[in-house]
Symmetry: C2
Subunit: 385 residues, 2 copies
């Protein structure tokens, strides 16, 4: 372990890369193993003496560990900056907040851009296909290595919400509470279809080179940008796009050509172009695959409630957004029904908003209030208040 354990950190913001030795591999659902395993993480706040105040935040598809710290590539604030900070729902003065880059990712955790010890080259497509359960297994190794027996809360939106469900299924004894935001218990056909478009866009780029682009010194930027553009549409509601952009033009009059005439075109092109600066194309393939493979009920005899049977002591909060068409409220209701079926303590709220799936990153006061209220109540129950 070359990384500094955050519980020894002097500053309120810590982190680094946790390196597990080669004899502590990560066992994967595919049957493969991953070693040596590295997990890049950030922490905020301090672990209390009782080690009862740790919150794990699980990030979404293109997120990373930079929850509430300046992103090293983009220079932008952390992706959940608005929820993490003194006086905010996730408060470093009270909580020890952990966020780690998922395996398969590209911000420091072992992923397809990491060096394959067998070849000395980046893994590329030799990286094993991973699952949401594999991501969670790696997180559990990190949490254990940090000396934390029980998480006060596991929280996540979108793919993060899938990881939280997996935590409840696989490590219920390590959870006190769980918050699942804008997620689903399995990827639908339409979800898979959109991801497949993105993967095909990447794989159609000649610079992808069957995944070996890093070795060749190129990057499939155009394909990755198209993948991001397609996905980005699914993160916003039709109404939000119409309100933000409508048919507004970039300049006076139409170009009568294929420049970006409409502001929405320019916006999407920007989303694509800026994404390729911070994300790895193969990571995009692997993480979308993990999402497509996600079907929690299938791992429990086809009955979702079975997944949560050992999590009856966990206090759940499930949140959805009314205009989210990527993981619509109906998907959250399925989760709630299963939690109720398993006898878990479950709060559920659908937050009325026209912002679509991405509402969980955005200024949505009801989300702040709900998170604050839920975590406050759990802190009392946990004796943290």
């Amino acid at each position: 372990m070359t990384a500094q354990a955050p519980i020894q950190a002097e500053s309120e913001t810590g982190g680094g890369t946790w390196r597990f030795p080669a004899n502590r591999p990560l066992r994967l659902d595919s049957g493969a193993t991953l070693a040596p395993l590295e997990i890049a993480y950030k922490t905020y706040g301090r672990l209390n003496d009782e080690r009862t105040n740790a919150i794990l935040v699980c990030h979404a598809l293109t997120g990373d560990q930079h929850l509430a710290s300046t992103h090293p590539v983009t220079g932008k604030p952390g992706w959940w900056d608005r929820f993490v900070g003194p006086g905010k729902p996730l408060d470093p003065d009270r909580h020890f907040i952990i966020c780690s880059n998922v395996i398969g990712g590209c911000m420091g955790s072992t992923g397809p851009a990491s060096i394959d010890p067998a070849t000395g080259e980046p893994y590329g497509l030799k990286f094993p296909v991973i699952t949401i359960a594999d991501m969670v297994r790696a997180q559990a190794m990190l949490i254990e290595a940090m000396g934390i027996e029980t998480l006060f809360a596991a929280i996540g939106g979108s793919m993060g919400g899938m990881q939280v469900q997996q935590w409840a299924a696989d490590y219920p004894e390590k959870l006190f509470s769980a918050v699942i935001i804008a997620a689903a218990a399995r990827h639908s056909a339409q979800n898979i279809a959109f991801h497949e478009v993105g993967r095909q866009a990447i794989m159609a780029d000649p610079n992808w080179m069957s995944g070996a682009y890093l070795t060749a010194g190129v990057r499939p930027e155009k394909g990755l940008a198209v993948a991001r553009m397609a996905a980005h549409i699914t993160y916003l509601s039709e109404a939000a796009l119409q309100r933000k952009f409508g048919r507004e033009l970039q300049r006076d009059g139409l170009s009568w050509g294929f420049d970006a005439d409409f502001q929405v075109e320019s916006y999407l092109r920007h989303q694509g172009a800026s994404f390729v600066d911070r994300f790895d194309a193969n990571s995009y393939l692997y993480i979308t695959r993990a999402l497509d493979y996600f079907d929690l009920a299938a791992r429990h005899g086809g009955v979702l409630a079975e997944a949560f049977m050992k999590a009856r002591h966990v206090r759940f909060c499930v949140l959805s957004f009314s205009s989210d068409w990527l993981y619509p409220t109906a998907e959250s209701r399925d989760i709630v029904r299963a939690l109720n079926g398993a006898g878990c303590r479950t709060s559920f709220a659908e937050i009325a908003t026209d912002k679509g799936h991405d509402a969980f990153f955005l200024d949505e006061p009801l989300l702040d209030q709900t998170l604050r209220g839920f975590l406050g109540a759990q802190a009392q129950a946990r004796g943290l208040a």
Copy 2:
């Protein structure tokens, strides 16, 4: 005119290519002109002596003139075969049915793959940007050349429904009735966004070669396939995809790789691969652009009802599908509201179906019944019955 005029046709199915001489150019909204203009068309049935039984069917984005005849490239039945034939709503025994390939298309009408007389090479990106109104102006030239003063009906779904609205706005005196199916009076921000993804996928393909691929002897097949895959998702409802494919696998077990594991992936890949055999990438750019530019109200001082003010004598039928999220029912209601505002005779029905936008091609008995009923009533009013 080298083409045989269909009114002289001996057989019940006619068609060919109508060639307008260079001194009869098509004047375009952009200010450019297109000459010589060629329009590829098919006809079914015979024009009656009074020339009052002609129906123009306007095709959708990737449709063509092969309405009810075997497609020469795919060998498949015409795209609206189920609605056209003896005893069907569009009946060659009673109607003279015309369907022409839009300009900008790739099935014989002048488009970006046509030879630019200025260079002797395919137009490529030298083809002028066209609009829905330009498409309709070309159709009006064809109808006039055929000696038809008034259409008994103009009918179209999706982009076809936009052309029908444009007919009502620009040539109301030439219309007796009009059927607008699963359309909108303007392209929304989300509509434009999906098209922009498709265009970027095509333009990202190095074989696109800035549009000059035909001269170079290559084709941007991968980019066009990705564009089609993304668009195809928008043609189906989430429920239809789930019902058809769910999470069904292609074979027993997961591949733990990037092959098509799920049937929905394989289906989408097939949609992409088969599309490139029959469609031209530049046509896709130009026609999607025409759709994005479509905003009928904007041409009439921002008031949609103004577009229909001269069409009060036209009998309209507007139809939408409840699960269409590409052009949702709300868009059809906007058209109906404008038609009512203009004082037009308007029927409207939302057909309850989970098949999404593509329902207008599919086995949807209520669509058959509605079309049959509406056209039957109009035939009586027209004295055709």
